[in-house]
Point group: C2
Chain length 131, copies 2
């Protein structure tokens, strides 16, 4: 793991991909501490840039993401985690954060939401962090 090329903030992006549907679920940032926690617990942990905080995915919601495989890219500065999601990855309730499609693929295209939220964020998170 010494080979990882962390950026100037000590971070690398991690892409979560559903092992079954093969959908890309989300992209978040990890640092040495969060990656170690991910590996040791088998559950995805991240570093929140907006909250400047170590972050266990699903801490509030219970929607943890179980790590099955970790793949590193040619530059060893990006990670793909193959996961078994225990609930929707998106804090808006969608299974994948990538639910908005550009239609048509044009500079005048619009972002159109596809699918439906599978939970009510207000009911699940309340005043807690939307993680």
């Amino acid at each position: 793991m010494d080979e990882i090329k962390w950026d100037s903030s000590g971070l690398v992006p991690m892409v979560l991909q559903d092992e079954k549907t093969r959908d890309v679920l989300m992209v978040a940032w990890t640092n040495a501490e969060a990656l170690k926690a991910t590996i040791e617990t088998g559950l995805c942990h991240f570093w929140s840039r907006s909250r400047q905080k170590f972050w266990k995915k699903g801490e509030s919601s219970g929607h943890v993401q179980i790590v099955k495989e970790l793949w590193f890219d040619c530059d060893i500065d990006t990670i793909v985690a193959i996961v078994e999601p225990k609930g929707p990855a998106c804090h808006l309730g969608y299974r994948s954060c990538f639910f908005r499609k550009l239609e048509p693929v044009s500079v005048d295209g619009e972002l159109v939401a596809h699918g439906e939220p599978e939970f009510d964020p207000k009911a699940v998170y309340g005043d807690k962090a939307k993680d």
Copy 2:
């Protein structure tokens, strides 16, 4: 497209996913200019942080990545491009940049390369940019 939340450097990450194999092929950075070129030409363009340069994927190698769909995440600060790859995405010759797997998933695990390069980077790129 006005909704995109570019970071402080005017960039967002773009994940390329093969429309057929559903493999994640690479992650690179795009800015307003590169995204416009991607949409207008139907071929992936990026911003190279290391070279500080606008970058057409496959310019040297011919391994262009044809855009089929563009998906945006909940925060509108990350993009997934569903692509038809015309040749390997990785500058080391592999179909995907994510060819190194952590085995086992442990802090003592090792990064093990899987698959084989499908071209010889020296023969394809020579002295040109490895794009």
